[in-house]
C-alpha cells in the first residue's frame, strides 16, 4: 500500500481494492475542497494530523451529519488497512481476505467515533486502530459461528436489531418486516433446543411445532401488527423463517462499494457543507491554542509518571504478565503455557491489573484535574489506559518471551 503523503490527501481520499490488493487512492472532491478551506483559515502554524482528527471529531460531535464524519472516514482508511492486514496474517483464515476485513472494520466506523473522547488528549489514530482491531476480531468470531450454525440454530442466535437491518438491507417493506419479526418471535417462543449442547446443529422443527408456531402467529397478529394481515399457514411460516436465515447470512457480506464512499450523493449538497463560521473558527482556534496544547502535554506527562509508578508497585507475576502481553505480544494462551497457569487465570489477572491502573488514573484525575470518576468519564479512560500500555511497553525493545522471567 502506498501511504498518503499530504494532510489534504489523508482527509479526503479513500482506498480502493482490486481483488484483494490495494489499488489506489480515490479523491473525494467535496472533501478536498473542505479541508483546503479549513487549512487556509489557519495561520502558518504547523498542525499535526492528530489535531486535525481531534478537530473533525469535535465538529462531528456538534454536527453528526456534516462532512466531518467523512473526513474521519477518509483519515482512518490507512489504519484500517494495516489492522486488517495484521488480523488476516495472524488468523490465516482462507475464507476472509484483506478486503473483507477492511470492510468489516470500516463498516463500524461509528463505533470508533462514539467511543472516542477528544477531551482526554488521546490519539485518534491509536484509538481507531485498537477499536477497529477488536471489531474485526469480533466480526470474525461472529462469522465463524454463523457459518457453522444450521438455519434453525441461527434464528435463535440473532439479535432482533441485526435481523431487522438484514431485512431493510433487502429492501423489504415495513409491514413485511413486522410480519416476519412476529413469526420469528413465535418461532423462538415455541422452539428451543432440547439438548444441553450441540445447539448449533438444531434441526428443523417437526410439523407439530410448525403448526403451533402458526397458530400462535395467527392469534398474535391482531394485537401485535398495526395493520390488517392475512392469516398464515405452516408452509408459509416455514418459508418465512428460511428467508430470515438467508437474509441474516447475506447481510454479513454487505456490498463493498456502498460502504467505503461518503454516505450521500456527492453533488446533491446533502451534507451541511460547513458549520456556522463562528463555531468553526472557535473550534479551530481551540485546536491550535498553544496554551491548551501545553497544558495537555503536561497532563500527559503527569499521567505517564503516575502509571509508571503504579506498574513498578505491581506484584512480580502481574508485571510479568503485562510484559509478555504488551511487549512480547504473546497471546493469553501462550502466556498461560509459559507461566504454567490456566488461560482464564491470565485473562482474569490482566483484567485485575487494568482495574488497579484504572483506579490510579481515576484517583489522579480526581485529585489533579478535579474530574469526578463517574462511569461516564471512566468509560473513556479505559481505552486511554490501553493506549498508554501499548506505548509504554512498545518503547522497550520487542522482547523475546524467553527473556521474561516467569515468577
Amino acid at each position: 500500500m502506498r501511504p498518503r503523503q499530504t494532510l489534504i490527501e489523508r482527509f479526503s481520499t479513500f482506498l480502493q481494492f482490486e481483488a484483494d490488493h490495494f489499488q489506489n487512492w480515490v479523491i473525494e472532491p467535496q472533501l478536498r475542497r473542505s479541508i483546503r478551506n479549513c487549512r487556509d483559515q489557519l495561520p502558518e502554524t504547523e498542525v499535526s494530523e492528530n489535531y486535525w482528527a481531534l478537530y473533525w471529531h469535535k465538529v462531528w460531535q456538534v454536527q453528526p451529519d456534516s462532512l466531518a464524519r467523512e473526513h474521519l472516514a477518509a483519515y482512518v482508511q490507512e489504519v484500517c488497512y494495516w489492522v486488517a492486514q495484521k488480523t488476516t496474517e495472524s488468523f490465516a483464515m482462507t475464507q476472509y481476505g484483506l478486503a473483507d476485513c477492511f470492510q468489516m472494520a470500516i463498516a463500524r466506523l461509528d463505533r470508533v467515533l462514539k467511543g472516542f473522547n477528544p477531551d482526554l488528549g488521546g490519539n485518534f489514530k491509536n484509538y481507531a486502530s485498537a477499536t477497529l482491531g477488536s471489531l474485526i476480531r469480533e466480526s470474525l468470531r461472529q462469522r465463524r459461528e454463523i457459518d457453522i450454525c444450521s438455519d434453525w440454530a441461527l434464528l435463535r442466535k440473532l439479535s432482533q436489531k441485526r435481523l431487522t437491518e438484514a431485512f431493510q438491507n433487502e429492501g423489504l417493506s415495513n409491514s413485511t418486516i413486522a410480519s416476519y419479526l412476529l413469526a420469528w418471535q413465535c418461532f423462538k417462543t415455541l422452539y428451543a433446543p432440547k439438548k444441553a449442547t450441540g445447539t448449533r446443529k438444531l434441526p428443523k422443527p417437526d410439523p407439530q411445532t410448525w403448526a403451533a408456531i402458526t397458530q400462535l402467529y395467527n392469534r398474535e397478529r391482531h394485537a401485535q401488527l398495526d395493520f390488517e394481515s392475512p392469516s398464515a399457514n405452516p408452509d408459509q411460516i416455514e418459508k418465512w423463517m428460511e428467508r430470515c436465515a438467508r437474509a441474516a447470512r447475506t447481510y454479513l457480506y454487505p456490498n463493498f462499494v456502498s460502504i467505503n464512499t461518503p454516505k450521500s450523493d456527492q453533488d446533491s449538497g446533502d451534507f451541511l457543507d460547513n458549520l456556522p463560521d463562528s463555531t468553526q473558527t472557535s473550534l479551530l482556534n481551540q485546536m491550535i491554542d498553544v496554551e491548551e496544547a501545553r497544558t495537555r502535554e503536561t497532563q500527559k506527562e503527569q499521567l505517564s509518571s503516575v502509571l509508571s509508578e503504579a506498574i513498578v508497585q505491581l506484584n512480580p507475576q502481574a508485571q510479568t504478565i503485562l510484559q509478555l502481553y504488551y511487549q512480547a505480544r504473546l497471546t493469553q494462551q501462550q502466556i498461560a503455557d509459559q507461566m504454567s497457569i490456566k488461560q482464564y487465570t491470565v485473562s482474569r489477572r490482566l483484567v485485575k491489573v487494568r482495574e488497579t491502573l484504572l483506579r490510579k488514573v481515576a484517583e489522579w484525575s480526581q485529585k489533579t484535574l478535579h474530574i469526578s470518576p463517574s462511569s461516564d468519564v471512566l468509560k473513556y479512560t479505559g481505552p486511554i489506559l490501553e493506549e498508554w500500555l501499548e506505548a509504554y511497553y512498545g518503547r522497550h525493545e520487542p522482547l523475546s518471551p524467553e527473556n521474561v522471567s516467569a515468577e
Binding site: R137, L190, T197, T331, K379
Partner: protein, 388 residues
Amino acid sequence: MPSNSVIFDPTQINLDIDSTLQTQAWRQSQSLSTPSSRWNGYLNLLCLNTILPWLREDYDPQIEPALSASSLLSIWEIVNGVPITLGSNRLILIPTESIDLDEIRIPQEWVDIPAWIGDYYVFVQVNPDDGWVRIAGFTCHRRLKQEGRYDWRDRTYSLDDSDWIADLNVLWVSRQLHPEEATRTAVPTLDALSLAQANNLIQRLGDPTTPNPRLSLPFHQWGALVSHGGWRQRLAESRWGWQVQGTVLQWLQTGVTNFAEQIGWGRMEFQPGLSAARGDEEPTTAIALSRQLRIAGQPYELRIRPLDGDNGRAWRFELQNLTPGGLIPAGFVLRLLTEDLQPFEGNEDTADRAVEQLYIEVALDPGEGIVWEIEPIPNQYDQEILRF
C-alpha cells in the same frame, strides 16, 4: 479453531463453564414447564453458576444470588434474568445466546417493577456448545431508562452496543471512587391486585399451554402479580403441574413438602416455656415449624407453632437469635400480612430495645394465607404464602 484469548477483546472477561456444572444446570432446568422456559432456566443457571464463583474469588466473597434457588426457578419460568446482591447494590445478570451483540434486550420486569429494579445490569453472552460465558458489558438503571428503547411488542428495553460500557472495571472503580453516582431512576408504583383478581389470573396463566404469560395481560397487572413472590410461586407451580402445597398444619402432622424443605422449612420438637419446666412436672414437648434466616450477617430462626393443639386456629410466630445468648437488636420488626399483603390488627411486633424474642399470636381461618416479613430484610428473602 483459535482459542478464545485470540479472538476476544482482551479487556473483557471470558470464563469457562465447568462441565459438571453444565450437566447439573441442564438437570435442574428440566423441571420448568415448556421447552423455552427450560432453555431459559438452563442459560440463566449456566450464567449464574459460572459468574458467581469468579465474582466471589476476585471481588467480594459475600456476593450471592438475591433469591434462593427455588425462587429463581419460578422467575425463569416466566422471564430472563438473575438478580444478585453485591453489598448494598443489586445487579441483574442478563444472559443472551445471541451471536451478535448489536443490541441487548432487557425484559421490562427488571426495569419497571419497583422491587425488581437493579442498580446495574450486566450482559452475559453464553455459549453452551463451546462452554464459555463472556461479560459483554453493563449499564445502570438510570441510563437504561434514559437510553433504552422500549418495545411494546415484546416488553423489553433495548440498548445498542455503543450505549453500554464494555469494560466491567468501570463498574468496580466508579462504585468505589464515586459512590454518590445515581444508579437508579424512580419508577411509578404498580397498583396492587385484589386476592380475587390474583386467583383469577393465576388460574388463567397457570396453564402451561399459554406460551408467553408475561405478554398475555397489561403490564401493570402482570407486574403487580409477579412482584408478589408468593403469587409468582403459585403461578409457576401451577404451570409445573404441582400439587397444591398443603397447609402448615398438614406439614406439622405429616411432614414438610419437598418444596418447603428446599426453602428451609423443617419440623422441630421443642419444650415450650422452658423456664416454667424447671418445676417437678415432666416437660411436655411441642412441635413447631422452623426456618433459619440470615439477617444483617447473623443467624436467626423463625418458628411457627399451633397454640391450641390440633384445632389449627390459633398460631404463634416467633423470631429469635440463633447465636448462643444472642438477642434481637432494637429496630427489628416481625410482621404478618394477609395473602394480598394487607396489614391487620396486631400484625406486627417491633423490638424497641434488644429483646429475646419477637412474637405475634394470631387466630386464622382454615385455608387463610399469610405472608411474613422481617425488617431488616433477611438474605435471599422472597415473599411466601403460608397456608393455614
